[in-house]
Symmetry: C2
Subunit: 330 residues, 2 copies
């Protein structure tokens, strides 16, 4: 039996675990990321939390096959540099070289959304399909594509950045600096912004949504919009209708390109479950090219939660993109 060490690096937490050949998570350890510190300090914690996950799994270190890492950034396989991790303020940093000091294991680094897609495909809602699209509707819009059972990361290993394809020509400014990106319309952040704009635009309507917005010191959350709509709030229902229409067009674009066997939705917005799925499927059928002639794939909610990122990161040795092999030998 072989075992694989996985580490999911997020802006808030570092989460590590050991995964077996059946994609089971044998241990799970996490600690705060401590964003804002020097890279070397954070890398030391990445190594420490990973080593702790190995100890807690009870698996002898010699039986661990590789160390797979999911990072909130693209990695340039040609240089081994991490391109841009917004949450840490890192740009073109030599993460691979720093990590190598802590481990004798082969290291694989991949974008975290790609790892989540792989983890869900192997251990969750993907039902071990060979061709899967996963979108994560959280702070950003994470997109991951599995082709022929492996992560697809584009010709140079920096592709499949689905959230930064344009959906609205000349549209709203995205965090990446471009205009009209899917992320600017379909992330949880975008849904909340759309709800707040709607509250402002309609001062004449006394709604449940407005009341929730007033009460929450930390601001609205995606679930507030679903809750308000569920309670019969017209303003919230209208906000959701528009959001789901945007989201359906975004997913339709990827169905038309990838024709996956299955589409998986993850992230905070996906917690709405059927309240999201039912209207989304209806819109998708209408908004997908040839949807009525050749059908659309089944759409499901992710099952593994945050574990998907760890499992997918760990399993890169077997199911990673070709490019991760290149990073390994840098």
């Amino acid at each position: 039996m072989k075992y694989y060490l996985g580490l999911d690096v997020g802006g808030t937490n570092l989460a590590a675990g050991v995964v077996d050949e059946a994609f089971r998570l044998l241990s799970k350890v996490s600690c705060p990321s401590g964003a804002g510190r020097q890279m070397e300090e954070i890398v030391a914690d990445m190594a420490a939390v990973s080593q702790k996950a190995v100890r807690e799994s009870g698996i002898p270190e010699k039986n661990i096959s590789s160390w797979g890492i999911g990072m909130p950034s693209a990695i340039n396989p040609a240089t081994g540099l991490l391109v841009h991790a917004n949450c840490f303020g890192w740009k073109n940093v030599a993460i691979y070289t720093s990590l190598k000091k802590y481990s004798r294991l082969p290291i694989y680094i991949e974008n975290d959304a790609n790892c989540a897609a792989l983890g869900e495909t192997l251990a969750g809602s993907g039902a071990r399909c060979k061709n899967v699209l996963m979108v994560t509707l959280g702070t950003g819009f994470g997109g991951g594509v599995i082709i022929d059972g492996k992560i697809y990361a584009g010709g140079d290993g920096m592709g499949a950045e689905l959230g930064h394809t344009k959906l609205v020509y000349n549209g709203k400014r995205c965090t990446c600096g471009q205009r009209g990106c899917i992320e600017a319309y379909c992330s949880a952040t975008a849904l909340i912004r759309q709800a707040q704009e709607s509250i402002k635009e309609h001062p004449e309507i006394c709604s449940i949504l407005r009341e929730k917005n007033r009460k929450h010191a930390g601001g609205l959350e995606a679930k507030d919009v679903f809750e308000a709509a569920g309670e019969g709030d017209q303003l919230a229902a209208e906000v959701l209708r528009n959001y789901i229409e945007y989201l359906s067009c975004a997913i339709a674009n990827f169905i038309v390109v990838f024709r996956p066997e299955r589409v998986i939705l993850g992230g905070g917005v996906a917690n709405a479950g059927e309240e999201l799925l039912v209207p989304l499927k209806k819109c998708l059928l209408a908004n997908t090219f040839a949807g009525n002639e050749i059908g659309i794939p089944p759409i499901t909610i992710a099952k593994c939660g945050n574990d998907a990122g760890i499992i997918g990161a760990a399993m890169q040795e077997l199911y990673g993109a070709n490019k991760t092999k290149k990073i390994r030998v840098c």
Copy 2:
């Protein structure tokens, strides 16, 4: 030495040829498609023109390895049916079964834009790269993607329909029935429509473009817009600026997803050469996510013209999508 028979089926012509292992076209024969006739009549001509190409090549029939066909439609590998060939008015027709009556060879069927991308990659501007994006700017917007040296046709073999991804949310109606498709903004047909709309919207401007539109009994062509702009016509220059901005956003979306080694432009609009390439590259750099950080791939004009479709169709046995294998055994 092995040889491969290719057939490119278009709405106007059927063009066949024999290709050798070095991707050279040894013979080329064509005849009118005769769209509007019964399918069986057209299929008989497809077979006849292909057999003639074999005779003219001088290659003994026993040395021909397979018959590869490019069709203006997606093919459903699960059923062997051609999904929808607009120019022939065919929908869900059993093309494979009809073709099989005429040949003992293994038959591979693929979308024509995918074949053109493969042909250009092997024998033309693709310089035998492994990851290539080709877009054909003609009556429609044909997109073909080569991944790891093979045609990419999506998980179920009906994907990579790049022209029918949405660029303008809730935008203009496309020929496919959807709204805002890239085809409705970036095909040669779209450029001509944009030019004609501009002429109408500005009756006060006496321009070279308007004069060309008046003179041409058959209506404007894409090259008229480039010519007028080249002669200093402000109206034409403005039309082109807008068109190239749309096109750059469309191509940017595919660069962000596929990160190809090379982008190839084919079709009527691409005949403009540098007049298209120079402003397009500038727009692409500005409109591609992380374009300034990680760069954009080289953009070139297709070299093989109509031969690309024949060569790519022929070479499916070696470099076709996995799905074509499935059609073969239907």
